[in-house]
């Protein structure tokens, strides 16, 4: 930020045509980008007659009926789907946070044989396209007989720190924690476990929060894995249930589909509002430097 400041003072006294054009371009761009979101929110309150083709954001006739109808569109209500999504997301958050933190501590702080090799492999798995692994993983889980209990294939991989991105994020974070603290704790008689518990864990809170937020959002939005493992209607999460609307698409269910879509986006949107600055500046910048 300090680097930018002098730049600004130079330009300040000529709020010029250039600045105005820049602002205008940004505002038009922003309207364009936000239009689909505004449109779907508005449309979820429109009457059936004007729903699909009305390009205006605001409904001429305001109705809440789609929310009530949408909630009970299927044999199982959305209450269940939202509970399922929440349970899976929260368990994933916990599993990711704990397992990745533990692995990151080993990589960032402890010296053990073959650490370099394992670290290189961990970085390699960062580039591994996760969706491709779905077929072989499915076969393994199927062989283990886990397919009938969908929580196992969805959560166990996360509890085993397979989300290398978070491991990497936390390693980078821990490298910024002064080693003097570890050493002081060691001199005071702490074992590596004690150092982890008393020094690293409390200081890693920001990295844990970032991991938790992104785990939640990604799991909430996840579709591919849930599509593969969730086969019973009662087990469906919100995205899988939303997909059911395609099969039943007619003009009549469009409003219900929009209403449930809006509700499905709501948790992520609330996270965005609460942690906007952190989401925008946190994870991406910290992942940038290698």
């Amino acid at each position: 930020m300090t680097a930018v400041a002098p730049h600004v003072t130079v330009r300040k006294n000529r709020f010029s045509a250039g600045q105005a054009v820049r602002l205008a371009v940004l505002i038009v761009g922003l309207l364009l980008v936000l239009y689909p979101l505004a449109w779907v929110i508005g449309s979820s309150f429109k009457s059936d007659a004007e729903i699909a083709s009305n390009i205006s954001v605001l409904p001429t006739e305001f109705t809440l009926s789609h929310y009530a109808a949408g909630w009970n569109s299927f044999d199982v209500s959305f209450t269940r789907f939202f509970i399922n999504s929440t349970v899976i997301a929260l368990l994933t958050v916990i599993a990711n946070a704990v397992s990745c933190l533990i692995a990151a501590y080993a990589f960032a702080r402890l010296r053990f044989p073959m650490r370099g090799l394992w670290f290189a492999i961990m970085i390699g798995t960062l580039l591994l396209p996760g969706d491709v692994l779905i077929i072989p993983q499915y076969i393994v889980f199927n062989t283990l007989g886990w397919i009938d209990t969908p929580l196992l294939p969805l959560i166990v991989p996360k509890a085993l720190a397979t989300e290398a991105f978070f491991v990497f994020l936390m390693v980078q974070f821990m490298r910024g924690i002064p080693r003097d603290l570890d050493e002081a704790a060691t001199i005071d008689g702490c074992s590596p476990y004690g150092v982890f518990w008393h020094v690293i864990l409390p200081l890693s809170r920001p990295a844990l929060v970032t991991t938790a937020i992104f785990s939640f959002i990604w799991t909430w939005n996840d579709f591919f894995t849930q599509l593969v493992y969730l086969n019973e209607l009662e087990d469906y999460t919100v995205p899988i249930a939303l997909r059911l609307f395609i099969d039943s698409t007619g003009q009549s269910s469009l409003g219900a589909m929009f209403a449930m879509s809006v509700l499905s986006l709501l948790p992520v949107f609330l996270f965005f509002v609460a942690f906007q600055r952190m989401l925008v500046e946190g994870i991406n910048t910290s992942g940038l430097k290698g």
């Binding site: 922003l30 936000l34 692994l133 397979t162 449930m260 989401l279």
Partner: protein
């Protein structure tokens, strides 16, 4: 913001403070060994995951790609068919070629446009002024929401025959069509949905722009360089590592797109296979037709392609990526 401390340089260990160093030398046997054990204790969940969730499934699928395994087969009747799956794929599977073409077309158009949009908006938002944070946040929002089923549903409604996009075009006297149902345009709607999520690379560009020293621009200004020349001779070279980072990341992500194509085509890659992205084809063969052996072969070809592509990207990177200080990466 606290996270930026992650990029702070590692605090150097200071020798000569006596006891820590002494301890380390002395502890070659005792202390180190204990640390070594602790290292593996802490690493064990990750190691287990690497073996059980990544390595073993990968090797298993490599084996199965040479068989006719389906979900229903018991392990006894899995039959080794050698390279048959791969041979079929390359010589006798038009859908495979279709999937490759569609995926390449999607990625080659979407990624450059997405990065261009990201860079353009990042340049506009680079300077600090009141309210810039809000703009950054709102441009980033689609990246958080765009990959969801909900947005794919919104997209298919927007680009439907009687959808809002056509209403908008009618305003200018243009008669649109059912974009998502037209084999010539369906992939285009997916590309637009991809570009719409330019916020994530934009944020990374912003972080990169922050690191370009202001003095360089000042020097260029003094030398009389126009903004356009400053962009090409200062911004672009200084930003090239970040462009490269984004290019690799977005290309790999682009190749893996699944949700939007699945939802918009209702799971079949239609109309006329025009949105049959590779992952979608993989899913169809594996989970709709239960051809797990063949799907495993598809997965391995995909994996190798992405691996080769990454290597190619990295080797071309040497020619155009400029690292200001070699030790930074």
């Amino acid at each position: 913001m606290a996270l930026t401390t992650a990029s702070a340089p590692v605090v150097p260990e200071q020798p000569g403070r006596g006891s820590p160093v002494a301890r380390k030398r002395r502890g070659a046997g005792g202390g180190r060994g204990r640390e070594g054990v602790a290292g593996y204790v802490f690493l064990s969940p990750w190691l287990l995951g690497l073996m059980g969730i990544t390595a073993i499934p990968m090797l298993l699928s490599l084996y199965l790609s040479f068989t006719d395994y389906s979900v229903f087969s018991t392990w006894e009747d899995v039959e080794w068919i050698g390279l048959e799956n791969y041979r079929t794929m390359f010589t006798n599977d038009p859908q495979f070629y279709r999937a490759v073409t569609v995926t390449l077309g999607y990625a080659l158009v979407m990624v450059p446009l997405k990065l261009a949009a990201a860079l353009a908006v990042a340049l506009l938002l680079n300077r600090a002024w009141r309210g810039v944070g809000l703009f950054r946040g709102l441009f980033y929002l689609p990246s958080l929401l765009g990959g969801s089923v909900a947005l794919a549903l919104v997209w298919s409604a927007l680009f439907a025959g009687d959808g809002a996009v056509n209403e908008f075009l009618a305003f200018f006297g243009i008669t649109g069509q059912a974009w998502v149902n037209d084999p010539d345009y369906a992939l285009g709607t997916l590309i637009i949905l991809g570009i719409w999520q330019f916020g994530a690379p934009m944020v990374i560009f912003l972080a990169g722009l922050k690191q370009v020293p202001v003095e360089l621009y000042e020097a260029a200004s003094v030398d009389g360089a126009s903004p356009w020349r400053q962009f090409w001779h200062v911004t672009m070279p200084m930003l090239s590592p970040v462009i490269f980072f984004n290019l690799v990341l977005e290309t790999i992500r682009g190749f893996q797109s699944f949700t939007s194509a699945f939802v918009i085509s209702n799971g079949n890659g239609g109309p006329v296979d025009s949105t049959l992205l590779y992952t979608l084809y993989l899913y169809k063969r594996g989970f709709a037709e239960f051809d797990m052996g063949y799907a495993s072969a598809l997965a391995w070809v995909f994996l190798l392609t992405i691996g080769i592509l990454t290597i190619v990207l990295f080797s071309t990177g040497r020619f155009w990526v400029h690292y200001a200080d070699g030790d930074d990466r």
